[in-house]
């Protein structure tokens, strides 16, 4: 790629306009991460419709900022009240909460922040280095390979189905049925529209995603009795200075833990369907096993906080590798970011680097800036977000519901979309109550339409003869990988990703 495009793209990230949205995104992410019951994916789902008024770079950078900030914010309630603000922070609470009880909440939160930024930066560097060559490779694929890739993408759902494989598959199948609504991609014939012309373009992603992910969660919170958040923990203003900060010696002592956590998070994040919680628990478990004093873990060992946070934050950048190179969403955040790309009229995938090179390098620049902002806003805002933990649910959730309604009204252009949003909120609520994975549903919904289109193209190329697949070794390899992923993620049920798959959780959007 032309160096001037790269430089121009990176330069775009540093304009005041784009920086402002990065800062807003990170601050919003830290805020929602700090409030138990809200989560970064939920905030991104709500924010996607509003981004269509922004430039593509500002929009995507804002959403990525929310995702990055949310990971940092999730550690705050995990440390302060032993209640993770997001699922990936659950491992942080194991040592963060004991540290807080020992009178060192600020030390724990600062270590979480430093480790997050370290892990996230590592992962972003890998993304920047690895994504362009992978995209070039992806460009060599024809319709058959693309169809096989889509099938492989769909099998990532096997890792997201929750405790019940049958329920997970049913949720995914229902997602595909919902994706079938609208004009069929091959013939342009209306399908499952029930006479509503508003459905000719399919069910609007913002209405479905916000309904299933955000409004269903709001329903859960508002329907709970006595759900108001109470005061968490009092930070003693007179505590010793050493207990309020992380010295360089302490940071340096955790360097191996953070680097290992960052590497684990990067690898896990690059593989669609596993997710941040699995990375955090895996990193925590390895850190404990390799430490000379494993008994101290769970009792307030700062390395436990560093291991978990470095890994869960590293997932964010690496998650964009399959999205930017193949157009495959590895988790719900990535699926929502695809929605934002589409709203901006941009199709994610290998062509992005050719057609939108400047935008992509702008995004890379914005991601690095978001890491710096995460650190600055985090240092400035830790005490502020500690108060946020105590914000009453009675104010937050009604406001969030009004924001959801406003966002969907604006993107879908009318009341019909908002009514659809409520319908999918009810579906999302029931899915969670009865243990169906909403993540499997959403990923299948996003992948359904492109899968159908690429399948039709592949059938035309092969003239429907299975034998002709032999002419496409890459496609065959991808199909073999699909079988492997179904076995490894779905049937073998590895321990590491079991926590992630408790997938019916509304919080859990984070895989």
């Amino acid at each position: 790629m032309d160096t001037s495009i790269i430089l121009a793209g990176v330069g775009d990230a540093f304009t005041l306009y784009n920086l402002l949205f990065v800062v807003c995104g990170v601050a919003l992410g830290q805020f929602v991460g700090a409030v138990p019951g809200l989560s970064a994916p939920m905030a991104i789902a709500i924010a996607v419709p509003f981004t269509f008024t922004l430039s593509p770079l500002a929009a995507i950078a804002f959403l990525v900022g929310v995702g990055k900030g949310g990971t940092v914010g999730g550690a705050i309630p995990a440390v302060l009240i032993n209640t993770p603000g997001s699922p990936e922070a659950a491992a942080t609470a194991l040592d963060g909460a004991p540290l807080a009880r020992q009178g060192k909440p600020l030390k724990a939160m600062k270590m979480a922040l430093y480790a997050s930024v370290t892990g996230d930066t590592m992962s972003d560097i890998v993304l920047i280095v690895a994504a362009p060559p992978l995209a070039i490779l992806a460009l060599r694929m024809g319709p058959v390979e693309v169809a096989c890739l889509m099938i492989f993408s769909l099998t990532i759902i096997a890792g997201l189905v929750g405790d019940s494989t049958a329920k997970g598959v049913m949720a995914a199948a229902f997602g595909i049925v919902c994706a079938s609504v609208g004009l069929d991609p091959e013939h342009g014939s209306p399908r499952l529209t029930f006479g509503f012309f508003e459905l000719d373009d399919g069910l609007p992603l913002p209405a479905v995603a916000i309904g299933v992910l955000a409004v269903a969660q709001i329903l859960i919170q508002l329907s709970r009795r006595g759900a108001a958040t109470e005061a968490a923990i009092v930070v003693d203003a007179n505590q010793p200075a050493a207990d309020k900060r992380v010295s360089f010696a302490e940071y340096w002592a955790c360097r191996t833990t953070m680097l290992r956590g960052g590497a684990i998070g990067t690898v896990v994040g690059a593989i669609p369907g596993i997710g941040a919680s699995a990375a955090a628990f895996l990193s925590y478990s390895i850190a404990r096993r390799s430490d000379p004093d494993p008994q101290s873990f769970g009792k307030g060992n700062i390395k436990g906080v560093a291991a978990s946070e470095a890994a869960n934050s590293a997932v964010m950048g690496a998650n964009l590798i399959p999205l930017l190179t193949l157009g495959v969403p590895g988790n719900v955040v990535a699926a929502l970011i695809i929605g934002a790309f589409v709203i901006q009229g941009i199709q994610p995938g290998p062509l992005l680097f050719q057609e939108q090179g400047r935008l992509i390098y702008g995004l890379f620049g914005a991601m690095m800036m978001a890491n710096v902002m995460n650190l600055c806003i985090g240092l400035f805002g830790l005490r502020l977000w500690s108060f946020v933990v105590k914000a009453p649910a009675s104010v937050i959730f009604p406001t969030a519901l009004i924001l959801c309604m406003t966002g969907v009204y604006l993107t879908t252009g009318g009341i019909f979309g908002v009514a659809l949003m409520f319908a999918f909120a009810v579906i999302g609520y029931l899915m969670r109550a009865f243990g169906f994975s909403v993540v499997a549903f959403i990923i299948a919904f996003v992948l359904g339409r492109p899968l159908e289109l690429s399948l039709a193209q592949a059938l035309i190329v092969t003239q429907g003869e299975v034998g002709r697949l032999a002419d496409h070794p890459v496609g065959l390899a991808l199909l073999a990988l699909s079988l492997l992923s179904v076995y490894w993620l779905g049937l073998r049920k590895p321990k590491g990703i079991k926590a992630e798959r408790t997938g019916a959780a509304p919080y859990q959007p984070a895989p």
Binding site: N82, A90, I176, V177, R191, L192, T406, Y409, I415, V426
Partner: protein, 164 residues
Amino acid sequence: MTHPAATPAERLDHRGPGPKLPARGSLLNRALGLVIALLGTTLILGIIPAQAEDIGRGALSPRDFPIFAAGVMVVFGLVQAIYPTGENRYDLTEMGRAALVVGAGLLTLLLMTRFGYIAAAPALAAALMLFAGERRPLWLAVGVVAMPGVIWTLFEVVLRRPLP
């Protein structure tokens, strides 16, 4: 709210932080499987044929893809009915309360079309805050007046996006 008996991971059941609801038994799981299988059958035999054309030419008929997905629902619904798996965590009272919130939201939609956003949004906020048990005047003022006002100003005035 802290619940010392629960571990951080346990607090993350489907409702978020707080005590977990008890898991329900396998009879319900079997019933759920049957309901999904029935839904899939209805889609295959009734809804999809009525709502999608059967076009012979081309690689895939418009009916093929949804019928395949509905078929998966039938097969795995039956599998679930025979070998029930997974947990169900719900509370009927909470479901009733959630239905009331949805009702309030839909009523607000109706109000928005008649009286506009500026009248309907604060009414919804007030109803939901009172429903959630909020009685403190300051917080009520923040939620009912300030927040909808900020949202309206942001979109109508700053971003110039027309609201109903």
